[in-house]
C-alpha cells in the first residue's frame, strides 16, 4: 500500500484545496449581481488610478506640443500646482483640453481625481487592514483566554465606542498633523479597538468550544499556536468581510474631514469639494452652473464607498450561511 501514499508535497495539496474553495466561493459570489457590480467598480477605479501617470503626459503632448513658455518643467496638468494660462477665466467648463473642466485655481479636475484615486485606496485599505488585524487578534485572544484580558479589552471597546468618531477626529486634528497615513492609522485603531472586537470575539467564542481545539490542546499545542493556527483562520472570513465594510467608513471619514478642512492632505476627493465650497461655488444657484466642481468628485466618493459596501454584503451572504438562499 506504499503506492497509495500521496507523493505530492503538502503545499501543492493546500494550494489545490484553496483553489477549490475559491472556485466554490466564486460560484456563490457570481450569483449576487450587486456584489459583482461592486467588484467591477473597484477594478475600474483601480485601473483608473493606475493609468494616472499617462494622462498628463498625453494631454500635454496633444495640447502643448510646442511649449509656448519654452521651459520643460511647466506642468499644466499637475493636480496640485497645475495651471492653464490659455484659458481666460477659471473655473472653466468641461472642454477637450480639460474633460472635466478646471477648478477655481485653474487645475484640471480629471487629473486631480485620477491622482487621488490610488490615495483613497491606500487610505481605505490601510485603515481597514489595521482594524482587522487588531480586531482579529484581540477578539481571538479575548475569546480564548477570557478572564482579565477579556474584561480589559471589552471595557476598552466600550469606552472607544462611546466617543463619536468624527467628533474625536476633529479634536485630534488640532494637535496631530493628520496626513494620509496617520489618518488611516487613527481610523483603523478607533474601529479596531471598538465594535469590531465584539463581533469577532463572539465568533471566536463559537470556535473555541469546537472539539478540534480540545484535540489541539491535548496534543500539547501552545496557546499562541492554537490562536493563530486554529481560531484565527476560522474567523478570518468574517474579519475579511468587516474589512470591506470598514474601507467604506474610512474613505467616507477622510472625505468628510477633508471637506471640513481639518485634514492635512494635499489632494483627495474631499479636498476637491472643499475647494469648491470654500471658494463659494457651492452656494445658491451656482451649484447647478458649476456642476463639474463637485459632481465628479462626489460621484467618485459615493461609487467607491458603495462598491466596497456591495462587495462586503456579497461576501456576507457567502460567509454567513443563514443569509444564503435555500
Amino acid at each position: 500500500m506504499v503506492d497509495a501514499v500521496i507523493k505530492e508535497p503538502l503545499w501543492k495539496i493546500r494550494l489545490k484545496l484553496w483553489m477549490r474553495s475559491l472556485r466554490t466561493g466564486w460560484e456563490l459570489f457570481r450569483e449576487r449581481k450587486l456584489a459583482v457590480f461592486g467588484l467591477g467598480v473597484i477594478i475600474f477605479f483601480a485601473v483608473f488610478g493606475l493609468v494616472y501617470p499617462l494622462y498628463p503626459t498625453i494631454m500635454k503632448n496633444i495640447f502643448w506640443k510646442n511649449d509656448p513658455f519654452g521651459y520643460q518643467t511647466f506642468a499644466p496638468y499637475d493636480p496640485i500646482i497645475g495651471f492653464d494660462p490659455d484659458i481666460m477665466s477659471h473655473p472653466s467648463a468641461p472642454s477637450f483640453r480639460h474633460p472635466l473642466g478646471t477648478d477655481p485655481l485653474g487645475r484640471d479636475i480629471l487629473s486631480m481625481i485620477m491622482y487621488s484615486t490610488p490615495r483613497e485606496f491606500v487610505l481605505g485599505i490601510t485603515a481597514a487592514l489595521i482594524t482587522v488585524v487588531i480586531g482579529t487578534i484581540i477578539g481571538a485572544s479575548c475569546a480564548y483566554y477570557g478572564g482579565v484580558i477579556d474584561t480589559f479589552f471589552m471595557r476598552l471597546a466600550d469606552i472607544v465606542m462611546l466617543f463619536p468618531s468624527l467628533a474625536l477626529l476633529m479634536v485630534l486634528s488640532a494637535f496631530i498633523d493628520l496626513t494620509l497615513f496617520r489618518l488611516a492609522l487613527i481610523i483603523g485603531m478607533l474601529s479596531g479597538f471598538g465594535s469590531i472586537t465584539l463581533v469577532l470575539k463572539a465568533q471566536a467564542l463559537t470556535i473555541k468550544v469546537r472539539p478540534f481545539i480540545e484535540a489541539a490542546k491535548s496534543t500539547g499545542a501552545s496557546d499562541a499556536y492554537i490562536i493563530f493556527r486554529h481560531i484565527i483562520p476560522n474567523i478570518l472570513p468574517l474579519s475579511f468581510l468587516y474589512m470591506m465594510l470598514n474601507v467604506t467608513g474610512a474613505i467616507f471619514t477622510e472625505a468628510t474631514l477633508s471637506f471640513l478642512g481639518l485634514a492635512n492632505i494635499r489632494m483627495s476627493w474631499g479636498v476637491i469639494i472643499q475647494m469648491a465650497e470654500s471658494s463659494g461655488y457651492l452656494m445658491g444657484a451656482s451649484i447647478g452652473t458649476y456642476w463639474w466642481l463637485w459632481l465628479p468628485a462626489g460621484v467618485c466618493i459615493t461609487l467607491l464607498c458603495s462598491a466596497f459596501y456591495f462587495l462586503g454584503r456579497g461576501l456576507e451572504e457567502i460567509v454567513n450561511p443563514r443569509l444564503r438562499k435555500r
Binding site: L162, P164, F175, T256, I273, I287, G298, S306, R313, R322
Partner: protein
C-alpha cells in the same frame, strides 16, 4: 432583572468616570487656549489677560482643575462656557438639545418606518427586481457623501424649485416684530408632536382589542385626524400658526436629507432578520394553512423580525450628536453638532468637554434602554 440593572448601572457609572477623565485630558492636550486670541489685541494688556486667566481658572495647575471639574461633574455642573461667557454650559446644551432631538427623532422615526416596510418587502421577494432595486438604491444613499447630498437637496428644492428655505432655523424678517421667542414656540411645537405621538400610541393599544380590521383602521385614522385638526386649529386661533409653519418649513429639508441618507440602515437590518425568520417552520405552517401571503408576511414574519430593529432604533437615537455635525453645519441648523464645531474653532474647552460628556451620557442611557427593551420584548431573554 433588578440585579442585572444594578450591575449595569454600576458599570455605566465607572465607564462614565473614565470617559470624562479621557475627554478632560484630551481637551487639555489641545495646543493654545481660549485666551490666546487676545494676545494680538492691543486693548487687552497683560494685566487684564492675567485677570481673565484667573477668572477662568486657567492659572491653576492642570491637576487641580481636573479635580475641580470632577467635583463639579458629580453635582452635574458642567461649568461656564468661555465663548458665550456668563452662560453655563448646561444651559447652552439644553437650549440646543430640543432642536437636535426634534430633527433627529423625526428623521429617525420616518426612516425606520420606511426601512421597516421596504426591508420586509424586499426580503419577502428576495432576489426579485424589487429586492435588487431597493437594496441598490438603499446602499447608494447609505454610502453617499452626506455633505454633497445636503448641497444637492438645497440646490434642487431651495434654488431650482424654490419651495423650501435654503438653511437656518427661522426666517428673521418674519420674526422681527414678535414678542415671544422662537425657542418657546419651538418647545410648544415639540410638545404638540409629543402629544400626537401619545394619542397615536394609545389609539394603537386600544385598537388591538377591536375585532375587525375596518374598526381598527377607523379608530386609528379618526384619532390621528382629530388630533391634527385640533392642534392646527389651536395654532391658528392663537395667531402663531404662521411662525410655527415657518419653523416646520425650515425643518423639512434637513429631515428629508437625513431620512434619505439613513433609511437603508434600518432596511438592511430588517431584510437580514426577515430572511432568517422566513426559514422558520411556523412560516411554512402559516402558508400551508392557506393564509394570504400578505398576512403571513406582515403578521407572522415581520413582527418576529422586529426585535433587532427596535433595539437598533434606540441605539441610533443615542448617536444623534455625532451624526449631527455634518447635517447641522450644512443646513446652518443651530443644534448640538454645530455648537460642537463652533466650540472647537473657538477653543471653548468647557463647552467642548460638556458636549462630549453629554453625548456619552446620552449614548450610555440609550444602551441601557436598549438592554431593558430587549428583555421586555423577547421573553426568551432573561437577565
Amino acid at each position: 432583572m433588578l440585579k442585572f440593572l444594578g450591575k449595569r448601572v454600576f458599570q455605566i457609572v465607572i465607564l462614565l468616570f473614565i470617559y470624562v477623565t479621557i475627554v478632560f485630558w484630551l481637551m487639555e492636550a489641545l495646543p493654545g487656549s481660549f485666551l490666546d486670541k487676545y494676545l494680538m489685541n492691543p486693548k487687552i494688556t497683560p494685566e487684564i489677560r492675567e485677570n481673565l486667566k484667573r477668572q477662568f481658572g486657567l492659572d491653576k495647575p492642570v491637576f487641580t482643575r481636573y479635580l475641580y471639574y470632577m467635583k463639579n461633574f458629580l453635582v452635574l455642573d458642567l461649568g461656564v462656557s468661555f465663548s458665550y461667557f456668563p452662560k453655563k454650559v448646561s444651559s447652552i446644551i439644553f437650549e440646543r438639545l430640543p432642536r437636535t432631538v426634534f430633527l433627529f427623532a423625526t428623521s429617525t422615526l420616518i426612516s425606520y418606518a420606511f426601512g421597516y416596510n421596504l426591508g420586509k418587502r424586499s426580503a419577502w421577494r428576495r432576489g426579485k427586481v424589487v429586492d435588487q432595486v431597493t437594496t441598490f438604491t438603499g446602499i447608494i444613499f447609505w454610502t453617499i457623501f452626506l455633505p454633497l447630498l445636503a448641497i444637492f437637496n438645497i440646490w434642487l428644492f431651495g434654488v431650482i424649485l424654490g419651495i423650501l428655505p435654503l438653511n437656518q432655523f427661522i426666517e428673521p424678517n418674519l420674526w422681527r416684530h414678535v414678542s415671544f421667542s422662537a425657542q418657546d414656540l419651538f418647545l410648544k411645537l415639540l410638545l404638540n408632536a409629543f402629544i400626537f405621538l401619545i394619542v397615536f400610541l394609545i389609539a394603537m393599544i386600544i385598537s388591538r382589542g377591536l375585532k375587525t380590521i375596518a374598526a381598527k383602521r377607523i379608530l386609528l385614522y379618526t384619532s390621528s385626524i382629530v388630533t391634527i385638526v385640533i392642534s392646527v386649529s389651536i395654532w391658528i386661533l392663537s395667531g402663531k400658526a404662521i411662525y410655527a409653519w415657518d419653523i416646520i418649513k425650515h425643518m423639512v429639508l434637513p429631515v428629508f436629507t437625513l431620512t434619505l441618507y439613513s433609511f437603508a440602515g434600518s432596511m438592511l437590518v430588517m431584510r437580514d432578520t426577515m430572511l432568517d425568520v422566513i426559514r422558520e417552520d411556523y412560516i411554512t405552517t402559516a402558508k400551508a394553512k392557506g393564509l394570504p401571503d400578505k398576512i403571513v408576511r406582515d403578521k407572522h414574519a415581520a413582527r418576529n423580525a422586529l426585535l433587532p430593529l427596535v433595539t437598533n432604533f434606540v441605539i441610533s437615537l443615542g448617536f444623534t450628536i455625532s451624526g449631527g455635525i455634518i447635517t447641522e453645519t450644512m443646513f446652518s441648523w443651530p443644534g448640538l453638532g454645530r455648537a460642537y464645531l463652533e466650540a472647537l474653532s473657538q477653543q471653548d474647552s468647557p463647552l467642548l468637554i460638556g458636549l462630549l460628556v453629554f453625548t456619552g451620557v446620552f449614548v450610555l442611557f440609550a444602551h441601557l434602554v436598549a438592554d431593558i427593551l430587549y428583555a421586555f420584548l423577547d421573553p426568551r431573554i432573561r437577565y
